[in-house]
């Protein structure tokens, strides 16, 4: 390393340190032996991970999170794909406006969406449950799924769809046998992005849930009773899961496209 690249290297080090140091500290103190996640570090110990696994409420919330994440992501991807197919393949009146309205929720803060949903559910008399959280997550993830899938619908699929129709395929067969498989990387990417966002999402889940809650909401209620290494353990756990989603996405989708 020479004198000219030194400032650049320093800068990079600071940048990544700024981003990852908090996470590293969080993970480090999840292995703390004593009751407080503050220096000095006296671990390593897996005691707090054991405590986490023994906590029924936490484990229930974990299962809820997975359930809400998978189901809402599947719904968001399906609806987003169908909307993209319709707008890409058919001439619709006010297509530009429809497209705009579909992607508009991307620009609205989760807090506003959550409040809107809360008011709507209250006035309709819909009880708060995992279902309402799921609906909230479809609302935030559908625009994303639509935008990803729509951007990937090109002339190549259109020509293949035409050939399939020519060979006798009906509309549903075209969609199931040609369009969806050809868009598989985009569908996969939007599913995993949705899953990641749903897994992390707190505000909406907090506003429209009651007895059954997702993991972020459960963590928040734990934090209210003060810090302890168990919250670090669960935080590390959530981080590792999110990281695995992104890694999987990168390996399966992005690698494939590069090939």
């Amino acid at each position: 390393m020479n004198i000219r690249t030194l400032p650049a290297a320093l800068y990079v080090l600071l940048l990544y340190g700024f981003i990852f140091l908090p996470v590293l500290v969080l993970v480090l103190f999840s292995f703390q032996e004593s009751r407080l996640p503050v220096p000095p570090f006296d671990g390593p110990s897996l005691a707090w991970y054991r405590a986490m696994l023994a906590d029924d409420r936490l484990m229930d919330a974990l299962v809820n999170s997975v359930l809400v994440g998978v189901v809402s992501s599947l719904v968001a991807v399906t609806l987003g794909f169908l909307a993209a197919y319709a707008l890409a393949r058919h001439r619709l009146p006010l297509a530009g406006l429809l497209r705009g309205l579909l992607t508009a929720p991307l620009t609205i803060s989760y807090l506003i969406i959550g409040m809107g949903l809360l008011i709507t559910f209250n006035s309709l008399g819909v009880p708060k449950s995992l279902w309402t959280i799921g609906i909230g997550h479809v609302v935030i993830n559908l625009p994303l799924c639509f935008a990803i899938v729509y951007s990937q619908m090109g002339a190549q699929q259109a020509h293949a769809e035409r050939a399939a129709r020519d060979l006798g395929a009906r509309e549903w067969q075209v969609i199931v046998l040609i369009t969806a498989p050809m868009l598989w990387p985009a569908l996969f990417a939007s599913f995993f992005l949705s899953l990641t966002f749903s897994w992390d999402e707190f505000i909406i889940a907090f506003l429209v849930s009651r007895f059954d809650v997702t993991l972020p909401v459960e963590i928040w209620s734990m934090l209210r009773s003060g810090l302890n290494p168990k919250t670090n353990a669960i935080g590390s756990f959530v981080f590792v899961i999110s990281f695995l989603f992104v890694l999987l996405l990168d390996l399966v989708v992005l690698r494939k496209r590069a090939a």
Binding site: A160, L167, G168, R170, Q173
Partner: protein, 353 residues
């Protein structure tokens, strides 16, 4: 008389203000290899899309084997298409691509396998069955597209500029193969191209299309040697076009006066009307031969070498524009050289102006 494979009855197509087809009537006989030929915008692709069901005509009817299918979607037609970009399914292997149409027709699995194998055999690609399509060359993809379309045994196979993406050598080779395959399977082929050499090499019948209507229709030799319109004469290879005026008409024989002299030619036109005389460059000779008519001396402007021949532009004192002449491949000419020209009047074609 059997039912024709395809009948277009007064088919028209409008895109907004543009009339892409104006009242086209065309019959394609069973087992024919018909080529729709014309410049882009001529309406040939529109006609093919209407036949395939990808476009609904603004007017008229389309009958396939006597059945009115004007408004039937592509999936319900006994037609299949070889597309210009092949449109193979990239997520399936070669056998999967070829089997697709059979699957849609719920053909039993065992029969599917047999027919896929036969179709791949027909195009000489049996060994590629398990390969992915993107691993194949352009010519191979083209053949897979052909096998995929033929395997379902369509009444009519449509080919939309199928050789457009291939290089010249492969193109000529595939023309030959297409013709052989068509003769072997006996299916009616309707093929769209803008390449007149391709059209002449493979067609039983050429349909020349221009500005949404049929200019000329007939076997390649007739279209080339006796074109019926000035457009066809000009579009099909090179032609020298010379203005002339009808002097007399008797028993479908015309006397036409032109800058090259007076000719007795077959044709029907009122005396006094202006016509165009067409003569192919290869029909202008530099020796008197057997009873050819002398046109006088022409002066060479420039020559190009085409392998089988030289083609030269030359000026005749009697004509305002240079004319095109074909010269033997081994004869070298310089600009300024003088050539005596002769023609056989029976090679002249009278065209309505």
């Amino acid at each position: 008389m059997s039912v024709p494979a395809v009948e277009f009855r007064d088919v028209s197509m409008r895109f907004g203000d543009i009339e892409a087809l104006s009242g086209v009537n065309l019959t394609v006989e069973e087992g024919a290899y018909m080529v729709l030929l014309g410049p882009s915008g001529g309406g040939k692709t529109t006609l093919l899309n209407i036949l395939g069901g990808f476009l609904e005509p603004s007017g008229g009817r389309v009958l396939i084997r006597g059945e009115d299918l004007t408004h039937a979607p592509p999936a319900r037609r006994p037609t299949t298409t070889v597309f210009q970009d092949y449109a193979l399914f990239p997520h399936m292997n070669v056998a999967g691509n070829v089997a697709f149409g059979l699957k849609m027709r719920r053909v039993p699995k065992r029969e599917q396998q047999e027919r896929v194998a036969q179709a791949l055999d027909l195009v000489g690609l049996a060994h590629t069955a398990g390969q992915r399509t993107h691993a194949l060359s352009g010519g191979q993809r083209q053949r897979i597209a052909l096998a995929r379309a033929l395997v379902v045994e369509p009444s009519v196979l449509l080919l939309d500029e199928p050789l457009g993406a291939l290089d010249m050598k492969l193109r000529r080779q595939m023309q030959h193969e297409l013709k052989i395959i068509q003769q072997r399977v006996g299916t009616t082929f309707v093929h769209v191209t803008h390449d007149q050499e391709e059209a002449m090499a493979i067609a039983d019948t050429i349909v020349v299309m221009n500005q949404g209507s049929i200019e000329d229709l007939g076997p390649p030799e007739r279209i080339y040697l006796r074109p019926v319109s000035r457009f066809t004469a000009d579009f099909m290879g090179d032609s020298n076009l010379i203005e002339g005026q009808v002097v007399t008409q008797r028993d479908a024989q015309l006397t036409v006066r032109s800058a090259l002299g007076e000719f007795e030619l077959p044709g029907v036109a009122e005396p006094g009307t202006w016509v165009t005389l067409a003569i192919r460059p290869e029909h202008l000779h530099t020796d008197p031969g057997d009873g050819r008519l002398g046109l006088g001396n022409a002066q060479v402007l420039e020559c190009g070498f085409y392998g089988t021949h030289h083609q030269c532009d030359a000026t005749l004192a009697s004509l305002p524009h240079p004319i095109k002449v074909r010269i033997d491949q081994k004869r070298l000419l310089q600009p300024g050289d003088v050539l005596p020209l002769y023609l056989d009047p029976s090679d002249l074609v009278v065209l309505a102006r």
